[in-house]
């Protein structure tokens, strides 16, 4: 039974910036994010998609509107409840540079007061899951961008979150590293069956990783369309050569082309 993990209703966000008129980042945004699936949010830069993530994650308070988290108990019956466990992977990694890889990965567990032995064990297994075994004692400054982001991913999954947020996770990486990590991530989410919210400006990435793609307009951010991606899983990068993939790409790019132009002019 399909049910929604997050439902956002009438979300608006305005903020004041110095020496400028108030900016409307989001305008009456409503959307549903299915549980156990990957939902990609794609849109032109500055469309407020990262703000949307911060609001859903509870790190920024929206000016208007509601974010509701729903639980399913397996019977398909929905209950609204307190926020589930969540973790975020950031574009700029945001690793603590003075901590080793293992201490970075264990950071969230440490904050929660998990005993040393247990957090060590869980951190090591998360590091293994992202293929970084042997780098436990390295500092972030000694790692490449792709490795840093794998640490970021391990730091998220070690919390065993119900919902994993990915904010342009591969935006700061070179093309080959990105492709490789996208494949690794696809495999990881297929195995874990977690609810994943992926923010991206790459249409290919949105389709390749997503079960659903939410297309956003230029500022003020609104939702232009929601598409279900029915490409079979598991997916490898080969899926990008299929006609269905190309059709979806054309459809989304068609929706975005005018928005991108608008965002360049404004």
């Amino acid at each position: 039974m399909q049910f929604e993990a997050i439902s956002i209703e009438g979300l608006s966000h305005r903020f004041l910036s110095k020496n400028r008129s108030p900016t409307v980042a989001l305008n009456d945004v409503s959307a549903q994010f299915p549980a156990g699936k990957v939902t990609s949010i794609v849109g032109p830069s500055g469309c407020g998609k990262s703000t949307l993530l911060l609001i859903m994650r509870g790190l920024v308070e929206a000016t208007d509107g509601k974010v509701r988290f729903l639980y399913g108990n397996g019977s398909g019956k929905l209950t609204a409840g307190a926020a589930p466990r969540m973790a975020t992977v950031w574009q700029s990694f945001n690793l603590l540079p003075w901590r080793t890889v293992i201490d970075n990965v264990a950071f969230g567990l440490e904050l929660q007061g998990v005993p040393v032995a247990e957090r060590r064990e869980r951190a090591i297994s998360a590091i293994k899951a992202v293929d970084l075994a042997g780098f436990e004692q390295h500092y972030p400054g000694q790692l490449s961008g792709g490795m840093k982001q794998r640490v970021g991913l391990a730091r998220g999954i070690v919390m065993s979150p119900d919902i994993l947020f990915l904010d342009e996770p591969f935006g700061a990486l070179d093309a080959q590293t990105r492709l490789y990590l996208q494949e690794q991530l696809a495999e990881l989410v297929e195995r874990s069956a977690k609810t994943v919210i992926l923010i991206t400006h790459s249409i290919e990435e949105a389709i390749f990783l997503g079960d659903r793609v939410v297309v956003m307009t230029a500022r003020p951010g609104k939702i232009a369309a929601t598409l279900d991606i029915d490409l079979p899983r598991p997916r490898s990068f080969e899926v990008q050569k299929e006609k269905a993939f190309g059709d979806l790409f054309s459809e989304i790019y068609g929706l975005l082309r005018d928005e991108v132009r608008k965002s360049m002019l404004s």
Binding site: W90, N94, L111, Y139
Partner: protein, 274 residues
């Protein structure tokens, strides 16, 4: 030649070239400074002898070293050294405790910053040595006065650097910590404070130099014991050799303290990519 021998030889070659690379990685200019200093001293020694410069103007380096030894052996210079170090570090540590503590509060709270800022703006530009008469009236000329003067001079670089360090903390790191469920207190202890450590350490570095300057200067004005006092005394009776000996001791102390700070700094900064 057997194959085993061949591979052993190849291995030896590799390890030899590795060693060479390692040597290159090591700092190969470390001896430039000491050699330049040695040359300078030789010129000084020879110049004074050849030019027949009177000892009261410029004693030979060898004589300075002998004088320094005599001061330690017969004039209890060790006691003065200990007194001076006690004052330098007394003021420095006091300033570090207050400066880091207040700096963290000021960096983290806009209200506390607003209250304290005007006091700092008022006291900071005053030359600390100008406070000497007032401090002597309040505290006499003993250790309390010396330590207070040194602390007043040390506190500002430490305080200001701490505030800057706290403010410069990457917003993304704080966001990531909040995302992982950190409380406000945890953010400050585990993110903001460690992020400020390099800046705080920079402030401590500046402060120690200031402490040395202030303590020696104040000792020259008011004290009976301490390197500054002995320096002043030697100058008044035209014991140029003793003046140089104490200056030499101060220079050696400066080098030792700077190098020690470098060592500690390397440990603190060990996470920086090399």
């Amino acid at each position: 030649m057997t194959q085993v021998e061949q591979s052993a030889r190849a291995e030896a070659e590799t390890s030899k070239s590795m060693q060479k690379a390692e040597v290159r990685l090591r700092d190969d200019t470390w001896w430039y400074g000491p050699v330049a200093m040695a040359l300078f001293l030789v010129f000084w020694e020879v110049g004074v002898r050849v030019g027949n410069v009177p000892e009261v103007f410029l004693p030979r380096p060898s004589l300075v070293v002998v004088t320094l030894y005599e001061l330690f052996a017969y004039k209890q210079l060790a006691y003065d050294l200990v007194v001076t170090l006690y004052r330098i570090f007394g003021g420095f540590v006091l300033a570090a405790i207050i400066g880091i503590g207040l700096g963290l509060l000021m960096g983290m709270s806009r209200r506390i910053y607003a209250i304290c800022d005007i006091f700092i703006a008022a006291i900071y530009p005053v030359p600390k040595i100008a406070l000497l008469p007032l401090l002597v009236i309040w505290l006499g000329t003993g250790n309390a006065f010396q330590i207070a003067l040194s602390a007043l001079g040390c506190i500002f670089p430490i305080l200001i650097n701490t505030i800057i360090g706290v403010r410069q903390c990457d917003e993304g790191l704080i966001l990531a910590a909040r995302d992982l469920g950190a409380t406000q207190l945890q953010i400050q202890r585990k993110v903001v404070l460690p992020a400020a450590v390099p800046a705080i350490f920079g402030g401590l570095r500046l402060a120690l130099g200031i402490s040395i300057i202030l303590v020696v200067a104040a000792e020259m004005q008011t004290a009976r014991y301490g390197l500054g006092a002995k320096l002043q005394l030697a100058g008044q009776v035209l014991e140029t050799g003793q003046v140089f000996a104490i200056l030499l001791l101060l220079a050696v102390m400066g080098i030792a303290l700077t190098k020690a700070q470098d060592r500690i700094g390397n440990i603190v900064d060990r996470w920086r990519a090399r």
